[in-house]
């Protein structure tokens, strides 16, 4: 009895808010929940660039809001819910750890559309999206294989989730196609963004003989260390060339702009549907920063590989591929399927690390 009353009251409040929303004309409110600071120059920064692109694409018709540095854990659900309660009709939650909170809030606000980055749970009003960053990792792996003199490449990793493991593997496969003796040393820093920890990891890897540093964390700190120590590195998520003008070879650039604009438009014209998007170099969700600080022939090879990955002629996980124990996981002439890639929890041959299980 009491719960019915509460529900009725809640429905009345919601209806009232909806009416207010209508009264405020056709401006569509779009919310963004970020895991890091917008000034990280990496992951969150690129989502925020796309948020601004949405505002620019629909002048006067869209109003965006964001909350930055939202902790994954009990706080996330409140922030996402508050976003929905404040009249946002489309909400992007841009970190894996926001998955279950987003699912819970999506259930409470069926009229609001939700978009969750890198997760796997979908409902009628909750889509998921991610980019095939591993295609970019194959390109930088190739470059590292051509340029490393020591044959030891350092890799700074965040959390052992499939996304990160897949990146290490794509990088290692491409690296060893060029230099079969090369090895990848991995340091797990257990954070997406901590310039201090990331820099320490870069120093440790260089001290262990790495002359190229790759990273799957969000700050430019490892590149700055590389610049100072005279080794090469790759930018993460955005073009970080101004932090390491002599050191950055290229960067894997996240480009969410077209997707965010398309999804906003879909909500505006009523064609929005819940779906799973996983796009790579071809539609431009993954872009490469200009190839610099390398000989012309290596640059030409990188550009050629990029074109082949886009056309589908080359797949980053083309067989034959062996895992760490030497067992063949894909035969020659085939490539790993999306399902295996999405749940990847093993290393390929050549990774000088043991995966925690």
């Amino acid at each position: 009895m009491k719960s019915t009353l509460v529900r009725l009251l809640g429905a009345a409040v919601l209806a009232g808010m909806a009416a207010m929303g209508v009264a405020r004309a056709e401006e569509l409110k779009v919310g963004f929940v970020y895991v890091g600071p917008v000034g990280d120059y990496g992951w969150t920064f690129r989502h925020d660039v796309a948020r601004k692109a949405v505002e620019a694409a629909f002048p006067g018709k869209v109003k965006t809001t964001f909350v930055e540095s939202v902790k994954e854990g009990p706080d996330a659900e409140r922030v996402i819910r508050q976003m929905a309660a404040s009249g946002n009709k489309l909400i992007f939650t841009t970190s894996f750890g926001f998955m279950n909170p987003t699912v819970k809030v999506a259930k409470q606000f069926p009229a609001v559309k939700f978009e969750h980055a890198t997760g796997y749970k979908r409902t009628a009003n909750l889509s998921t999206y991610s980019a095939r960053f591993y295609e970019g990792r194959a390109i930088i792996g190739h470059i590292a294989g051509r340029l490393s003199k020591t044959g030891v490449v350092g890799y700074i990793a965040s959390f052992p989730i499939p996304e990160v493991v897949r990146g290490i593997n794509a990088f290692t496969i491409a690296l060893r196609k060029v230099n079969p003796e090369a090895k990848v040393k991995v340091i797990w820093v257990n954070t997406w963004y901590d310039p201090g920890k990331e820099a320490d990891a870069a120093k440790a890897l260089i001290d262990q003989g790495a002359d190229i540093i790759a990273q799957h964390t969000d700050s430019p700190a490892p590149l700055q260390v590389a610049e100072k120590r005279g080794v090469k590195g790759f930018g993460q998520a955005s073009d970080m060339i101004k932090f390491a003008p002599k050191s950055q070879l290229t960067a894997i650039v996240d480009n969410w702009n077209p997707y965010y604009i398309a999804r906003t438009k879909a909500v505006m014209d009523g064609s929005w549907k819940s779906e799973a998007t996983w796009a790579g170099i071809k539609p431009g969700m993954v872009k490469m920063a200009p190839y610099t600080n390398m000989p012309a022939d290596v640059k030409a090879e990188a550009e050629a590989l990029q074109a082949k990955l886009a056309s589908g002629e080359v797949h980053a996980f083309d067989g034959p591929i062996k895992d760490q124990s030497g067992k063949e996981v894909v035969k020659a002439g085939e490539h790993l399927d999306d399902k295996t890639l999405a749940t990847m929890d093993y290393y390929v041959e050549g990774v000088d690390d043991k995966l925690k299980k």
Binding site: K2, S3, V6, R7, G10, V13, G31, P37, T65, F66, V67, E68, S69, K71, E72, G73, P74, D75, E77, R78, V79, R81, Q82, M83, A85, S86, F96, G97, N100, Y120, F159, P160, I161, P162, V165, N190, A342, T343, M344, D345, K356, K357
Partner: protein, 358 residues
């Protein structure tokens, strides 16, 4: 010339006036800060202090957010009164969450009313076990609990990382480092339909009462206070320092572990790599803000929770940057703690008159 002069005795007026004075100072300087940055000061203050509690859902969120702060704050205050400096409540919280959460996962699908009490016991014992390590190191090797309890926090974080990447990982979770969602029988009962407020808040209120009784009315509480304020007298009276250290650390660990279990069995609903946004550390501020008194801690916990909710609200509704909301939170804490000096000191304006030579 403005000078601070020591009072002969603690001011009774200031005991109540100082928090109000701090609030006034915060509001004035906050309004100035917001105005300078181009925000409407009144609107900003409204978003910080009023808007978060304008709905029943908002009030429920406030109480939910304050629950771990109050629980841990009371536990820490008992220790701080005895000069036992446990600053590792964050670690004790994590271990409590792992221990209680593991029990819930082991009994996944078991529909019994006993599941939750078992998890709660696991949370309390887990927190106590983690706090027992600094107690042992202090009483047997005289190692400072300040350092050992803090350092064990990092160990606890890594243990949690290991647990959710290994034995407690959801087998159907696409290799992501998270446990299964807890079964209904392993989740805290909700106090208010449609919100996330759960029974843990009632537990926090009971803990405030018990904490007050322990500190003010019980003999062990008296021993704790004497050990803290007059260690020599305590020794003379035959109070054992070893007992005090064990008792206060275990109490702090138990409450932190309980808070951790409430988080995972409540709003989070599963074990994830990051359970607490630093409640164990924030609770240290809450304990001092509440002047180490359980009732004071209750209010301090609510106020700090409100400042977090207000910060989020200002970001969402006014697009205020996180850095600004953080500075405002800092101002609030700074004034609240800073103004407390007026309890023991008074401000004198003008020249100091030389004391009469008599």
């Amino acid at each position: 010339m403005i000078m601070l002069e020591r009072r002969r005795e603690t001011s009774r007026v200031m005991k109540f006036a100082s928090p109000l004075l701090a609030l006034v100072l915060t509001v004035i300087s906050g309004a100035a800060l917001f105005g300078l940055l181009g925000f409407d000061p009144l609107e900003a203050l409204y978003q910080f202090f009023i808007a978060p509690v304008m709905t029943s859902y908002g009030i429920a969120e406030l109480l939910l957010k304050a629950t771990p702060l109050i629980l841990i704050g009371v536990g820490l205050a008992i220790g701080y009164r005895a000069n036992v400096w446990n600053i590792g409540a964050e670690g004790q919280l994590i271990i409590g969450a792992i221990a209680g959460g593991a029990i819930g996962l082991a009994l996944h699908g078991v529909d019994s009313v006993l599941v939750l009490p078992l998890m709660i016991a696991g949370g309390i014992l887990g927190g106590m076990a983690w706090a027992a390590i600094p107690a042992l190191l202090r009483t047997h090797f005289n190692a400072s609990e300040l350092l050992t309890s803090l350092m064990l926090t990092y160990v606890a974080e890594l243990l949690l990382t290991w647990a959710v990447n290994g034995p407690l990982k959801d087998p159907d979770g696409f290799s992501f480092p998270e446990s299964k969602m807890f079964h209904d029988s392993a989740s805290m009962p909700l106090l208010l339909e449609g919100t996330r407020l759960h029974g843990g808040f009632l537990a926090a209120l009971i803990v405030v009462l018990l904490g007050w009784f322990f500190i003010s009315r019980s003999l062990p509480g008296y021993e704790v206070r004497v050990t803290g304020s007059a260690p020599h007298a305590a020794r003379f009276a035959g109070f054992s320092q070893t007992v005090t250290i064990w008792m206060t650390l275990l109490a702090g660990g138990a409450l932190a572990g309980l808070a951790g279990l409430f988080e995972v069995a409540g709003p989070v609903g599963q074990l994830v790599p990051k359970i607490s946004p630093g409640y164990g550390f924030t609770a240290i501020i809450v304990a001092f803000l509440g002047r180490l008194h359980p009732v004071g801690i209750l209010f301090a916990g609510l106020l700090v929770a409100l400042s977090y909710l207000g910060g989020e609200m200002a970001q969402i509704t006014l697009n205020m940057p996180l850095a600004v909301t953080g500075v405002f939170q800092g101002l609030l804490l700074f004034f609240l703690l800073g103004v407390d000096i007026l309890l023991t000191h008074r401000i004198r304006i003008g020249h100091i008159k030389p004391r009469s030579a008599s």
